[in-house]
Symmetry: none
Subunit: 224 residues, 2 copies
């Protein structure tokens, strides 16, 4: 899950980044609405945290711009104001929720979880299984049989995405979009490199390979 933070106050921005990262989200923080909108056009986000008061442009105007561009990423507004008029203005401009400063991080996380909940109410599995391979999203651990796999955060996300699509070709471009949040070709062997590292832990120490390369496309994970 990728969260875009648009907040001009450095202290709040860093606090949000750290808090959300620890909760397992990826964040990108920008301190101007212009930079935020630019980020939205080149990366894929699951939600936006938008400050109401921003330098140069009101947060509500920024939101209107975003919605006018047909971007329907959920937006949570942060506001210091309390009047009903202000809330209404934000919600009418297309915000999904708002939070009044100062706020508790736990409440922010709870509200983020609500607005990022997929409309198709896909039940978020906490544990994925594929043959002898298991992945626990709560504990952030992965096992193959009894062996614990010591994965880096990125490797974990990569394996997580693959395991959500067992027996299906997952292309490199889709991985870039879903795992890295990229909407461009990095023109490097980024995916290959990390797939190589993941395989070194998931496949190499065992006799059967679960990750197969599909030349010209990407990779498939499957049992057996």
């Amino acid at each position: 899950m990728h969260i875009l933070i648009v907040e001009d106050d450095a202290e709040t921005g860093q606090y949000l980044e750290r808090g959300l990262r620890e909760a397992g989200w990826d964040t990108q923080w920008h301190d101007t609405p212009q930079a935020g909108i630019l980020a939205l056009s080149s990366h894929s986000f699951d939600a936006v945290i938008l400050d109401r008061m921003l330098p140069g442009m009101d947060g509500v105007d920024a939101l209107r711009l975003i919605r006018a561009a047909n971007v329907d990423t959920p937006v949570l507004m942060l506001t210091a104001r309390t009047s009903i008029d202000d809330r209404v203005e934000g919600l009418e401009a297309g915000a999904d929720d708002y939070l009044i400063k100062p706020f508790a991080l736990s409440e922010l996380i709870a509200r983020l979880k609500i607005i990022t909940r997929r409309p198709k109410h896909v039940v978020e599995e906490t544990q994925l299984m594929l043959g002898a391979l298991t992945l626990d999203r709560v504990q952030r651990t992965a096992h193959r049989g009894d062996v614990a796999l010591d994965l880096s955060p990125l490797e974990f996300k990569l394996l997580d995405y693959l395991m959500q699509h067992p027996g299906e070709v997952v292309t490199r471009t889709i991985l870039l979009e879903k795992v890295w949040g990229y909407r461009f070709d990095p023109k490097t062997s980024l995916v290959q490199t990390h797939m190589s590292r993941l395989r070194a832990k998931v496949d190499k120490p065992f006799d059967t390979e679960m990750i197969r390369t599909v030349r010209g496309s990407g990779y498939v994970i499957s049992a057996q």
Copy 2:
């Protein structure tokens, strides 16, 4: 499936080419409407991705030209504009769908699948079977009995096309058009060569031949 991309921005064009190729489509990218229209007359496409803003000619005008020439290939428009007027103009000129930039590749692929779906409620099979021969389009694997066939991407496409037309003579010209996207005679033994390679994997290791040559026409695949 062959997709024509008409997009003047090189980065977007290459990104589209890569993403669609990995997803199993063949692409041809042109950066001017003139080149795109020319390509339409010499090659066979299942869909066109057309940028709204093109050098020298508006994408909508290019689309009108295409439709005026009685080409009814599905067209998906890419537009940076958002007003309802622009959408209506594109759709009225004959676009089948539109997508507002910036877009996620996964959404583009989903929309392409919709507009290329054949009008006659033909359900896209994910698995083809013919006697002991099976072909899985999702996993991109082919088997004859229990034996996995290790096919190159081109061989896979060739077998896929043959298996869509069991017991039917498939001519070389049709293969050139459907598998290679050619509308001209390469004057080489291109088809023969690849058919030979395919047979070496599909027929040679087994006692019965499934691919038969029809002299003067092409090939037939059938059980027994």
